[in-house]
Amino acid sequence: MNASPLSARIHNGILAISAFIILVVFPTLNAMGIIEDFTLNLWGKYLCYGILAVSIDLLWGYTGLLCLGQALFFSLGGYMMGMHLMLMIGKLGQYKSALPDFMVFLGHSTLPTFWVPFQSFPFAFSMIFLIPGLMALVFGYLAFRSRIKGVYFSILTQALTYGASLMFFRNDMLMGGNNGFTDFRTLLGANLRIASTQRLLYISTAILLIIVVMLCKWLTRSRFGLVQRAIRDSENRVLFSGYSTANFKLFIFVVSAVIAALAGALYVPQVGIINPSEMTPEKSLEAVVWVALGGRGSLVGPVLGAISVNALKSWATREYPDLWLLFLGTSFVLVVMFMPTGMIGLPSQLQALAKRMKRKSTEP
């Protein structure tokens, strides 16, 4: 699945150039006023989705675990960041209260205890790692210990996400209910509503994406990655060879949950809103679509998939709102059926096809 039609050096060269474009050229052009703020902000969103896609690929493409709970970890990270941002609004909200608006609306007069520490950014930042990580640890421990795998794992993670979204939809959860968090103003003292802050957020997202891709590249090329792929291809053999597959899977599950959470944490200040509709099983499946279309089992494919599908979506939902879902659904079905390696594997698939055609025509 890792086959690449290009030689490794060209491959890496292209990667370096795209990283340079995303990280340096885009923000510079934006600072010069050539790329609009809106476009850069949109790309910041795509890159967050790219990170989410990598986290799914790490689980699905490399370990064979199709997790439908990544949207949950993504939004949990977003919620942790959102809690801090809500408290940073201070008295600038609608009700001119130190409490977040929705709490005033619900008739609260004091900040609930679990909200208090989120006033400190370091705490909120550590929670972005801890809460989704712990959640993945507990759920993964339970699931992998009882050897839940394959579609059962998918269905259970789907149920987990569903349950969590029901929970967050409730007002007495004190997490904003239906409307979630919005109306953010400052992060670490910087005004979130001006272009330069958004540019910095974009750059951090790009850096995070590059780090995540590199980390995953290193991880999947190591001995660990070998075991990981062996688990994907034949878990029982790995188990019989004396590896504790449950621990391997648990580790990768937690890592990918944390990556998704980080993406969510960067997504929220850029998009300016987080609500429970972000953590439904459908959102997870949507992200799985990006990975499948881009090409799982490669680290660039998912990023490519996330960016291209979302860019196409932004355009198509404006131009052809009715037909977009038909197109996305059909192309997804076709890719799943006939292009297991996605866009990134298309050249090699075509090459193989051409070779076969040639052989057919030369051999009588």
Partner: protein, 556 residues
């Protein structure tokens, strides 16, 4: 007097009697006339008496000096006058010059009533409601009579008890009299009433009993307080029994809904290993087929799929609204099964042995189908009217059994039976089971496994369609109808154990009962649902393969 020829020509109607009572000068005669209407079930009696009491009856003096009682109808015109109708006939009052008479209510004096007359009217209108031939309305009137605990109502209730035959109404009369007696000044009557209400398990008496207990505690009337508290205890235990039965019944019906929704999935997922994420959309297809059937047998339907207009002619059957559902059931099964065949043939057959891919591909299909439904039928919910015979209820000992809930339980039982028969008693079932147990061996024995796959998948989808026809009767029908059930359906199948119908039945009923009981205990539907999900995850720790495991020596 103009009244006399009227009474001579034919027997006076209730309206005419009231009209004559209005113009009558002597109060005692007035009262006699009103009392003579006692027990008369005609609805206009109460309406006219109410108008009279409320001062909405006026006397119009015609040029010959006759007084004609009228009431006002319609809207006030610019000069504040309203059209008039005769009390005696309800017809519009026309003056001799041919114009309708209009009166200004503020300028005229309404016909007054004395207190004795009002009492007589009250007696008549109370009894009129009690005499309603529809026993449900009678029951309601009797239950309402206890409100206010007015002892004046007791005589008419007693009169009714002497003639009433219906045991439900008799019970209501006893209850109403006892509730009214709670306010009596006679302590003996009060304690007796308490005892009676306790025996009757009267839920309606809870509040008056509470008031009585509080009052008698204040006035240190120990005997009455004890009696009231005793009755309350008895009624409370009755209420909790009702709640338990109600919860059981609702749990059973929710379990049946889950079962109906999950049974098709148990076939495609359990027997074939295909994760059909489009299962929900097949449910929606079934529901929309029901919708189409309703309009096809009725008045027809205009649709605008893809911006083009399409009209479906209707058969205009008279009884369509009650009978369409009978036709919709097979139709929804067949339509969903046809779509199932199409899907199996075009997509699923490439995905056997690749369950994860089947999950993803069918999710893509579900996206497409949902959007198609939206483009054809619009994104709003459509209206499916339930046949009359589904919208009623039985009340047995204060526990409410909705017919549609009873129906879903019966429906689920029939579907399970049908599925079991198909799988165990037909040759198709034999082939299905053979192909599922060992595909290669079955193929070697001459079974066309591809054909069997198609039929099995179509069968599963058809069951989803049936579920949709059913769900259209208890909820909204919209393009995303199936999405609401898909997670629950998958959980049901996973908990039940894959490849086992019995497991699906038990898990569906178990989840339904657990859900409803937790809702009752936690008093919160959402938390109840979350707890159920958590329990399912923990349950799978204990039995990872569900309740019933298909034993096999093969290692996947």
């Amino acid at each position: 007097m103009w009244l006399i020829p009227l009474t001579h020509t034919h027997a006076a109607t209730p309206s005419e009697i009231i009209a004559s009572a209005i113009v009558e000068q002597s109060t005692s005669k007035q009262r006699d006339l009103v009392i003579s209407l006692k027990g008369n079930p005609a609805p206009e009696v109460v309406i006219l008496l109410e108008k009279w009491k409320a001062g909405e009856i006026f006397l119009y003096q015609d040029p010959e000096g006759n007084q004609i009682p009228v009431y006002l109808t319609g809207k006030a015109s610019g000069d504040g006058t309203l059209a008039t109708s005769r009390v005696s006939t309800g017809a519009a009052l026309i003056s001799p010059d041919g114009n309708p008479v209009r009166l200004d209510p503020s300028a005229e004096e309404f016909v007054d009533t004395s207190s004795g007359l009002r009492r007589a009217m009250k007696e008549v209108s109370d009894l009129a409601a009690f005499a309603n031939p529809d026993f449900k309305k009678r029951l309601r009137a009797i239950e309402d009579s206890a409100i206010g605990q007015n002892p004046e109502k007791i005589p008419s209730l007693e009169t009714l008890r002497s003639t009433e035959k219906n045991p439900l109404v008799l019970r209501a009369i006893d209850q109403a009299i006892a509730i009214i007696n709670l306010k009596s000044n006679d302590p003996k009557l009060r304690t007796e009433a308490c005892k009676k209400l306790g025996e009757l398990n009267s839920i309606a008496a809870m509040d008056p009993l509470k008031t009585l207990a509080a009052q008698s505690a204040k006035s240190s009337d120990r005997i009455t307080e004890k009696a009231a508290l005793g009755a309350m205890n008895r009624i409370e235990s009755h209420i909790s029994t009702i709640n338990i039965f109600g919860t059981l019944f609702r749990g059973l019906s929710l379990g049946s809904v889950l079962l109906v929704v999950a049974i098709g999935l148990a076939i495609t997922f359990g027997l074939m290993g295909i994760i059909n994420m489009a299962h929900g959309e097949f449910i929606a297809i079934g529901a929309y087929t029901t919708y189409l059937m309703q309009h096809f047998l009725g008045a027809g339907l205009d649709l605008s799929p893809f911006g083009k207009s399409l009209s479906i002619p209707g058969l205009h059957l008279a009884s369509a609204s009650n009978s369409y559902f009978v036709f919709a059931l097979p139709a929804s099964f067949l339509v969903a099964a046809l779509f199932g065949i199409l899907l199996e043939w075009s997509v699923i057959r490439f995905l056997y042995r690749r369950p994860l891919e089947s999950l993803l591909a069918t999710w893509g299909i579900s996206m497409v189908l949902q959007q198609l439904l939206r483009l054809i039928f619009g994104s709003n919910n459509v209206q499916v009217t339930s046949p009359n015979w589904l919208s009623g209820n039985w009340t047995i000992n204060d526990v409410l059994f909705g017919w549609n809930r009873v129906f879903v339980i019966a429906f689920a039982a029939i579907i399970i039976l049908m599925t079991w028969l198909v799988l165990n008693k037909t040759s198709l079932g034999l082939m299905i089971r053979a192909a599922m147990q060992n595909r290669n061996m079955a193929a070697c024995m001459g079974i066309r496994t591809e054909h069997v796959n198609t039929m099995t998948f179509a069968f599963g989808c058809g069951l989803a369609g049936l579920a949709g026809a059913f769900l259209s009767q208890i909820g909204n029908v919209g393009p995303s109808l199936g999405q609401n059930y898909i997670v629950d359906a998958f959980m049901t199948v996973v908990v039940g154990g894959v490849g086992n119908l019995m497991g699906t039945v038990i898990s569906a009923l178990g989840i339904g009962l657990a859900d409803q009981s937790l809702q009752q205990i936690l008093r919160n539907p959402v938390i109840g649902k979350i707890v159920v999900l958590a329990c399912i995850i923990l349950f799978l720790q204990w039995r990872p393969a569900g309740l019933f495991v298909a034993r096999s020596r093969s290692l996947d």
